[in-house]
């Protein structure tokens, strides 16, 4: 509040040059100070986790607490990688997320191409039926999904994780928005046969849609990498677990070895953080699309 009230400044002092900025210099400086404090609060949990993971196991629970230790060591990381199944969980998470990502793009882009470019009867109704899927809250489906996978004999397999995650209404929506935004129309769509339309989709529209493909692929990858509840109920075998499910077991298996617990948390968080830092723009676009135009 103090910040907001302190920025009442004469008009002349405003910076009118940049497109984003508004407000006075004093206001901007106050905002910056508040932001720095908040950013520190936001980062401290992660720094503390890193700090703990680098301490010798015996010193993590020292009172009073300290950021320092007699020495720093990578021992917790070494023993985590050696004693837990984290490497296997990485492989499981990577394989399932990669498959989900590729198939999501394929299914959604084809559907969106049709909705956007093929003028067939009933497409609006069908599109709304698919969009309505966004309204179905995922958490409430866990019980019937499990029963279904049990009936199909797929419990504790990759399939039980992959199948429920590849038909994404949001992905269809993102692709359709993108295709609709390309100001060209397939004049002869109505007269073409299926095979040549598929070529048009594959050889013209998909290359044009690269930004949308990147956004959906990376978005789907991160979402499925982070999905907890679905693999948690489907997977029971240690060797089929994904990273989030496996990590949920380390608290009990490592007991109170906090350096090791924090090391496993950091190792579990690093892949998505790296992906995020590299593909920030696409991920942000994907997430923003889930809310912006709905």
């Amino acid at each position: 509040m103090a910040v907001l009230q302190s920025v009442e400044q004469p008009v002349e002092e405003r910076q009118a040059t940049s497109s984003v900025p508004r407000g006075s210099k004093i206001g901007n400086i106050s905002a910056l100070i508040v932001l720095i404090i908040l950013a520190i609060i936001w980062i401290v949990p992660i720094l503390w986790a890193i700090d703990t993971s680098l301490k010798p196991e015996g010193e993590t629970t020292a009172i009073p607490i300290s950021w320092f230790a007699s020495h720093f060591t990578l021992a917790a990381f070494v023993s985590t990688l050696a004693t837990s199944s984290l490497p296997i969980w990485y492989v499981n998470s990577f394989l399932t997320s990669a498959i989900i990502s590729v198939v999501t793009v394929a299914l959604a882009s084809m559907a969106a191409f049709s909705f956007s470019r093929i003028p067939f009867r009933g497409r609006n109704v069908l599109f709304w039926i698919i969009l309505a899927g966004i309204m179905i809250p995922g958490q409430i489906l866990i019980v019937p999904l499990f029963t279904q996978m049990q009936a199909l004999g797929l419990v504790d397999t990759y399939w039980s994780i992959i199948l429920p995650q590849i038909a994404s209404p949001i992905a269809v929506f993102i692709f359709k928005q993108y295709f609709d935004g390309i100001p060209y129309e397939l004049e002869e769509a109505a007269t073409m046969d299926g095979a040549s339309l598929f070529r048009v989709y594959w050889q013209i529209w998909m290359p044009l849609a690269r930004p949308a493909i990147a956004a959906v692929a990376i978005f789907a990858f991160v979402i499925s990498w982070n999905n907890f509840l679905l693999p948690f109920i489907m997977i029971s075998g240690n060797n089929t677990m994904t990273v989030p499910v496996g990590l949920a077991t380390v608290q009990t298996s490592f007991g109170i070895r906090y350096a090791q617990i924090m090391a496993s948390a950091i190792l579990g968080g690093i892949p998505v953080l790296v992906v995020f830092l590299f593909f920030q723009r696409q991920i942000v676009q994907g997430f923003a699309a889930t809310g912006l135009k709905g």
Partner: protein, 315 residues
């Protein structure tokens, strides 16, 4: 390839003129053909579970499949109405939603207003506030479970260092849910923040310039220009947030070490569904509960959508 079709610069749809019935039918077949792969998976693994869940809720269905033919009618639903644990978990869910939603909206708005100014390192701030959102929930729960420890936990360590009393973040029945809320704000506020930031960037700068030429101070511009123009973004954030908060489970379950929290103070509806279905093996009963939650979420979001639609008409 380009010769196969002719691309034409036109936004409008060309209505198929004078098409024969056969042509139209073929177009429909091809159009649906492209959608079919999606539609099959969508129907099998999104729509079918919704139907199956409804069916299961009328049977004395157990996780082994026994009782799948033992029709109960509405008995599961009747039992729910008299189940104190269900009402208790519903209370936890609603309390979580009521506390977390305003925080997650207001803090997101405040962060976005602060970042959307002429300040250095804008991108860095955006990254910092959004980054926790991309971390798996297990990682977040492990880190916060450690921060919340008594004695040697960072937060209590700071409190005692300042001469304050320790808080039983994970053990005090009056505090545990608040601990889940704090974790959730840290973890997910970046998403709402991002939506607000995107919304703000669509506001034409001239509007703010005009307002300040009219003598409006910064606070007045936020109050009378920025916030009203963000009302659609706010509505959407509210809808998404309420839907997400009503489904709270993962972070609470993991933070409480696969438990219900002190005195069941963090056991949400989804957690009770999970417990009844997967540790009590009563999947029929759990399905009935899922449906009640589904209907609550549906009603709340339809109500919010109706509000949103009215807003759009007025805009």
């Amino acid at each position: 390839m380009m010769s196969d079709i002719s691309l034409r610069a036109s936004g409008a749809e060309t209505a198929p003129q004078a098409q024969t019935q056969i042509k139209r039918r073929r177009t429909t077949l091809i159009g649906i053909g492209f959608i079919l792969p999606f539609l099959i998976v969508y129907a099998a693994f999104l729509i079918w579970p919704v139907i199956l869940g409804l069916r299961m809720s009328f049977f004395n269905w157990t996780i082994s499949g026994a009782g799948a033919t033992n029709f109960l009618g509405l008995a599961n639903y009747q039992e729910l109405l008299g189940d104190g644990a269900f009402w208790q978990s519903l209370g936890v869910t609603l309390l979580f939603t009521v506390i977390s939603t305003p925080l997650l909206v207001i803090i997101a708005l405040a962060l976005a207003l602060l970042v959307n100014r002429a300040i250095p390192a804008q991108g860095l701030f955006r990254t910092i506030f959004f980054a926790p959102f991309v971390m798996p929930v297990s990682v977040v729960a492990l880190i916060w479970g450690w921060l919340y420890q008594p004695g040697f936990g960072l937060i209590n360590g700071i409190l005692t260092g300042l001469g304050l009393k320790e808080v039983g973040w994970l053990s005090d029945p009056g505090v545990a849910l608040l601990s889940v809320v704090i974790l959730t704000v840290w973890w997910t506020v970046g998403f709402n923040f991002l939506l607000y930031l995107a919304g703000m960037q669509q506001i034409p700068p001239e509007l703010n310039e005009a307002a300040s030429l009219d003598g409006a101070g910064a606070w007045a511009r936020i109050r009378w220009v920025t916030i009203p123009l963000l009302s659609r973004t706010t509505s959407l954030i509210l809808i998404l947030q309420v839907i997400a908060s009503l489904q709270v489970f993962n972070q609470a379950y993991l933070l409480m070490n696969a438990g219900d929290g002190p005195n069941f103070s963090t056991r949400s509806v989804v957690q009770y569904i999970y417990e009844e279905g997967f540790t009590g093996y009563r999947v029929g009963y759990a399905s009935a509960m899922s449906y009640i939650l589904f209907i609550i979420i549906l009603l709340v979001s339809l109500g919010q959508f109706a509000l949103l639609a009215r807003q759009r008409r007025n805009a």
